[in-house]
């Protein structure tokens, strides 16, 4: 199912060979497209995780600050 949707979204990008600056590896069409498919999800998770890290750091910092103030 996932790949049927992917086909619709990604079929528009299938056409010419991939060319890059120094790349000598063939990234492979499937590997290339899978990354694009995963991109939104993994990018989103990455952003969430870094925000969560910041929130945690904020709370921990606040906590330790309060502790310090109590001393």
């Amino acid at each position: 199912m996932m790949f049927m949707n992917a086909t619709v979204v990604l079929s528009s990008v299938l056409a010419a060979p991939l060319m890059r600056g120094h790349a000598y590896l063939d990234p492979g069409s499937g590997s290339f497209l899978l990354q694009l498919l995963l991109a939104a999800l993994l990018g989103g998770l990455f952003v969430l995780r870094s925000y969560w890290g910041r929130i945690k750091a904020f709370i921990t910092k606040k906590g330790s600050k309060e502790e310090n103030e109590e001393e």
Binding site: M2, Y24, G28, G30, L36, L42, G44, L45
Partner: protein
């Protein structure tokens, strides 16, 4: 005329190549790689990687390039004492190499660069740690573009590690056959169904294999997908691969960290005496490089490495090598390299023109070879006649510290219990006669409380 030779493994990437001249290893950087090379050094990435111990240091050097036509400059990388291959690493060695690769990728992104390849063969164990040996593996990061080496990372690292952790440790040996990593459709087929529940394995192996199959005959128009992958997505992909690798573990059977040595054939004093003899012989040979064949978890290898001698500690048992590596890592040992080798079928010359990955013997010789409590396994379990054993050891190194285990020893009796004794020449006299043909026997010492003897021999020229 100065002799130079291009290395057989260094031909795929047009950015440059390795060559050897008068025994010194150099890397030619080609003009086509100038911008990336200058960015690597100029951006501070090179320095950052050296400080983190993730890249083998090199110096820019003024020597004649091997091929002046396309040359930009020549660099001289610090030499790695022994080139080892992923199929010789233990599980944790391959895992640490994978994590080092991802760390390098993240570090590169901080400097607006990324890895243009992620071959496990570009990682070597240097001073006890996995480091990248190819300074030409970087290119400018282009926002929006997917990672060109993603498939290679999955094939070289994630697939074999998943198979080793989730199916069978021996599946690492697929890397010997598939020189560019385990094909993902094969990995997907061999992994248990339960691995579909692991998100990184599901996405980077199973779905990846499906995508490869589905788009096998399609070409991608890069211009139309440009901008399709944000930097966060790029970092997210790296993170996901990292959590996938971190999540894979190999639980060693039995009581972990229990004494792995079969001590039945030595008393406590016998074991101490054996160490003393080996130490004396090491003093006499003063080696720079030792190969310990059949090293088990490396107890005797450490007699050499603890004195600063670079020691490769080979064993056939992946469990023993894993324990050996974990111990080396725990102790921060820089002079010991544990590797898995089956001496009855040691690594051969493989890859393009049979020159890409070298055989075990072509990566030698060592100065001193140690063969302790091993000879009977090769001579009796594997039916290798003594002259053939002698010739192999002779080629492996100049000096030989070898333990002779006679037929009366309980371990040999056990090996002979279930089979006919077809080894009339396997006795201490026959052994000494055969070896004396190619070696000068400098010393022989009996291990206390045992019938075993350790010989010190020097190969005749």
């Amino acid at each position: 005329m100065i002799q130079s030779a291009k290395l057989g493994a260094s031909f795929r990437d047009p950015s440059g190549f390795l060559f050897r001249r008068e025994g010194v290893l150099y890397r030619q950087v080609n003009e086509s790689y100038r911008d990336s090379y200058d960015q690597l050094v100029g951006s501070g990435l090179y320095q950052a990687l050296i400080e983190s111990g993730l890249l083998v240091p090199h110096e820019e050097i003024d020597v004649e390039p091997y091929d002046p036509g396309p040359a930009y400059r020549v660099i001289k990388p610090e030499s790695v004492e022994f080139i080892s291959y992923p199929f010789e690493w233990s599980f944790s060695q391959l895992k640490d190499a994978a994590l080092a690769t991802l760390k390098i990728q993240k570090k590169a992104l901080e400097f607006e660069m990324c890895l243009k390849d992620s071959s496990a063969y570009n990682i070597q164990y240097y001073r006890g740690h996995p480091v990248l040996i190819d300074s030409l593996s970087f290119e400018r990061y282009v926002p929006g573009e997917p990672w060109v080496a993603y498939r290679q990372f999955c094939q070289h690292f994630l697939a074999p590690l998943s198979l080793m952790a989730r199916s069978d440790i021996r599946l690492e040996q697929l890397l010997r056959v598939y020189i560019d990593g385990v094909p993902l459709d094969l990995a997907s087929k061999l992994l248990p169904k339960s691995s579909y529940l692991n998100f990184p394995i599901l996405s980077h192996i199973h779905l990846h294999a499906m995508a490869q199959r589905r788009y096998a005959d399609s070409a991608v128009d890069k211009n139309r997908v440009s901008g399709g992958m944000s930097k966060n997505a790029f970092l997210g992909l790296t993170d996901s691969l990292e959590s996938g690798v971190r999540g894979l573990n190999w639980r060693l059977g039995g009581t972990e960290w229990g004494d792995y040595y079969d001590q039945h054939n030595y008393t406590q004093q016998g074991m101490e005496d054996k160490k003393k003899i080996v130490n004396e012989y090491l003093d006499q040979t003063g080696p720079r490089i030792v190969w310990d064949l059949g090293a088990n978890v490396g107890r005797f290898s450490r007699l050499a490495s603890d004195r600063g001698v670079f020691t490769v500690s080979f064993d056939v048992d992946p469990g023993a090598v894993e324990r050996n590596y974990r111990e080396a890592r725990r102790r921060g040992e820089e002079r010991l390299l544990p590797l898995t080798i089956d001496l009855t079928n040691p690594s051969a010359n493989i890859g393009w023109h049979n020159r890409e990955r070298l055989s075990l013997l072509d990566r030698g010789p060592a100065d001193t070879v140690m063969v302790l409590a091993l000879l009977h396994h090769l001579a009796i379990s594997n039916n290798v006649p003594l002259p053939q054993l002698r010739d192999f050891f002779y080629q492996a190194g100049k000096w030989l510290i070898i333990e002779f285990v006679p037929k009366s020893d309980s371990q040999v009796r056990k090996l002979l219990a279930t089979r006919e004794d077809i080894f009339p020449d396997y006795d201490v006299t026959g052994f000494a006669e055969v070896f004396a043909e190619r070696y000068i026997i400098h010393a022989r010492k009996r291990i206390r409380d045992s019938e075993r003897e350790i010989y010190l021999m020097e190969g005749k020229d």
